[in-house]
Symmetry: C2
Subunit: 262 residues, 2 copies
DNA sequence: TACACTCGTCTCTTGTAAGAGACAAAATCA
DNA sequence: TGATTTTGTCTCTTACAAGAGACGAGTGTA
């Protein structure tokens, strides 16, 4: 590997400088569309992923031809295509946990009236894989596919169970430890929380992501000790001790049901 | 463009001969996994898409890192990953027709007890986008994402409404005209069927894909005259005239509901 | 114990795709 | 109306990714 003068570029960092592999550009395009959540013009897309226009046109054409993207009716904006939906359904079909998990989450939110979610680690980040809104007049909603820093959530504390301090440290950035309201979490406290959650078999956080919600979470195991996902309920922060206790019981029961060999 | 001796390669045909663009290889990989519907070893994958092993390893690694593919627990087989599921859900969210269509299909099959499907054209092929199995003891099931030659289906006749003969001819290959039982459809008959279906506003086919089912389909319009999708019921071939008529009525009603500005 | 596999990783070469940029047409603005 | 930006397409160059192939470690089988 000739280094030349291109030092200071720490191996894993992508400097969007020079020539980029087409595939990587495509991955960035998909990720970008996932964050915008709406169709976008190709020119803007190029700007957004910070790629040359000509390249972007070529790539988008390939993707549209393949059906991964679709041109909107107005003809010059693009968004995800049917093929991605089909592949996604294939994933669901091949994935028992997800299939059953979606079901359980839907049931749970219907039974309790609270917002319920299935969460997993997705490339090192906390991800809401499926969510079902509650029936409250002002419901606390959260979008599928949303990615949130691990330390902000109850589920995050469960998903990292079993990892040692170094591994945990590697998975959370400094920014992740800063809560939405500006408070800064100490890494040590977070590590302690994780250990506590692991022995308790559930986790509750209050007013972390926002001031008026409480988050209840229970682990789903794919093997003894290995947390594959969590089920979680988002409830108003003033929910009574008694009701909270009942909900946690229910939640743990359902999560256990999802665990393999359960 | 130096031709050399590499003639006989008609422009749009891909000769999997020489160096292939990485992105294309990836698209082939995804398509291959979609057809196998199961996790597969990387070596076999390379054979399956007929790509060099070293290249395949590289690409798969990228895709796994990006979360589009996932390694199975056994560590050396791959299948679709969570990211594709998330992108797929984004597609659903951004696509009113699909979202509402899934709902209607589920309702319809619950109400009638018959297998119900939402179908669309996907890069020139008939595709079952969402299916809900009926409640019969021996239910006629069909998998989401399945692609079937247009002439085999009632929906196919509706989806091609409005196209002229040349366009239709371009969309069906010779093989497509051969039914599963070996009978060969005449293109002219197919074209006539399409015209008939268009004026009727629905289509019924009997014993085409197999000997014991009848297929009822109604068009979903995205604009006057433009068929965007079809809803369809798969029923036993011996369903009475009366019940068939009722079902068609119901089907047309629901399909109309889905049509924009309807 | 040899033989014939497949697996995952690495190195080196060269064909080619990413990108810069020019262009006409369309759209937007003043 | 002309001025300015955006859009979609095209051409040409060269940096670099696709691919051939070698390698050592694992796995089976005779």
């Amino acid at each position: 590997m000739q280094d030349g003068n291109a030092t200071a570029i720490s191996a894993d960092e992508k400097i969007s400088g020079s020539r980029e592999k087409g595939l990587n550009r495509v991955l960035e395009i998909l990720e970008f569309l996932h964050t915008t959540q709406r169709a976008i013009g190709i020119g803007d897309l190029a700007k957004g992923v910070n790629a040359p226009r000509s390249t972007t046109y070529t790539l988008v054409r390939s993707l549209v031809d393949a059906g991964l993207l679709e041109l909107e009716s107005d003809g010059n904006r693009v968004y995800f295509g049917k093929k991605l939906y089909l592949y996604g359904m294939d994933y669901v079909r091949g994935n028992d946990l997800l299939r059953r998990g979606r079901q359980e989450v839907d049931n749970l939110s219907r039974e309790t009236g609270e917002t319920s979610e299935l969460c997993m680690l997705q490339s090192g980040r906390y991800t809401i894989v499926h969510a079902s809104p509650g029936t409250r007049p002002f419901r606390i909603s959260s979008a599928t596919g949303l990615q949130i820093p691990l330390p902000w959530t109850a589920s995050g504390r469960l998903l990292l169970a079993g990892l040692d301090r170094a591994e945990i440290e590697a998975m959370v950035s400094d920014d992740d430890l800063v809560l939405p309201d500006g408070r800064k979490l100490r890494l040590d406290d977070f590590v302690t929380d994780i250990a506590k959650a692991q022995v308790a078999g559930y986790c509750v956080t209050s007013g972390l992501v926002d001031a008026y919600t409480k988050c209840l979470a229970a682990p789903v195991f794919s093997a003894p000790g290995k947390v594959e996902a969590t089920m979680c309920l988002v409830v108003p922060i003033d929910t009574s001790e008694e009701r909270t206790g009942k909900l946690i019981g229910l939640l743990r029961d359902r999560a256990a049901r999802l665990s393999t060999a359960g």
